[in-house]
Symmetry: C2
Subunit: 213 residues, 2 copies
């Protein structure tokens, strides 16, 4: 398998964690987002969205980080990243979507660029926007993780899964943009539990082959 | 089952379509977003996110439209809304996420409110923002639906599924905000095929009990 991705893309980071948790080897194919390599003709020929990550498995290319992780979980079931029961699966998916739909889309590079270039928003207002959606979104995740009995050492029980694959990259982003994290004891406890594991260490941006680019 | 939702919420609309396609009866519980009923104490006690839709099935509440639809598909498998094969499932999920993560989050009510109230964006600039993300995002969906051989009468083959549940509400939104749709022949062909079906007709905003609110 090849993974087209970028070290600092948090959607890419999610997939790298899933691959590492499953112990699956892959070719790391860097796509430099800040240099707009995702818009170049050769990459656009692979990716209709001109987005990373993109997983190539044999003749097939799969886009969208959550779809990739579900695919990996179906084709390489052990260790499972989703619970066996429908209610548990619904909970994990909804936690993942609380991050993937409510937080991350508002804060990716092209949105921040639009705020600055098209709307003429100041650097301070852009950073306030970023923190607004991250902090409000993570408060929701904290409320759920604290109140829902299925939370364990990780987001769902005591083993890392899909929701943890989403949570950790979002915290990396929050830290980069100096978001408030002190009101999130359960989120940060789970973040620390994840980062104690070799799979999360190996997948983090600073460990990537393109980390210096 | 009870569905807490709002007639004009496109995430709610997705779930209504799925329930209708499966022929599942439910109690329609309106939550008026423009009046901020989602923030009221009684609703906040149910929903950590203060968002619609929320499906209540017995003692369990499930949030996030995609997680709800996957749950319905697992607990009421016929008719299936996801293909049987892993690659097909990945394709349908990634199409759904192209809408749920790349288009819709940028254009929901709270984001538009932030643009106007916190960033002081004009009505024209707000509408341009809306159209920018919808039109660019739907171009991606069009490119995929036109080029990928699995597209049929519907987004994946000849029966409606998860991706169609996402596509139709997004087109309703695009029409409300006068987005350009003339460059989207495959998208609009599939939209028309969906709207010819009773399930999509029954689920549309104008057919909802709270349509006049």
């Amino acid at each position: 398998m090849q993974l087209y991705n970028y070290h600092r893309s948090s959607a890419s980071f999610r997939v790298r964690i899933a691959l590492a948790l499953k112990g699956l080897p892959y070719d790391y194919q860097p796509v430099h987002l800040v240099r707009n390599e995702q818009l170049a003709a050769d990459y656009a020929a692979r990716s209709a969205q001109r987005l990373v990550p993109l997983l190539v498995d044999g003749d097939h290319a799969i886009s969208q980080s959550l779809a990739i992780i579900e695919y990996l979980d179906e084709t390489h079931p052990e260790p499972a990243l989703l619970p066996a029961d429908a209610l548990g699966r619904a909970r994990v998916r909804s936690l993942a979507l609380d991050i993937a739909c409510e937080i991350h889309p508002l804060n990716n590079l092209r949105v921040l660029r639009y705020l600055v270039k098209d709307l003429g928003v100041s650097e301070d207002a852009k950073n306030a926007w970023y923190r607004h959606w991250v902090e409000g979104g993570l408060e929701v995740v904290e409320r759920r993780l604290t109140s829902e009995p299925q939370t364990g050492r990780h987001c769902h029980g005591d083993t890392p899964g899909l929701a943890d694959c989403l949570l950790v990259p979002q915290i990396f982003n929050a830290q980069r943009f100096d978001c408030r994290l002190d009101g999130l004891p359960t989120v940060m406890r789970i973040f620390d539990a994840c980062m104690a594991l070799p799979a999360f260490q190996a997948a983090q941006p600073s460990a990537c082959p393109d980390a210096q680019d």
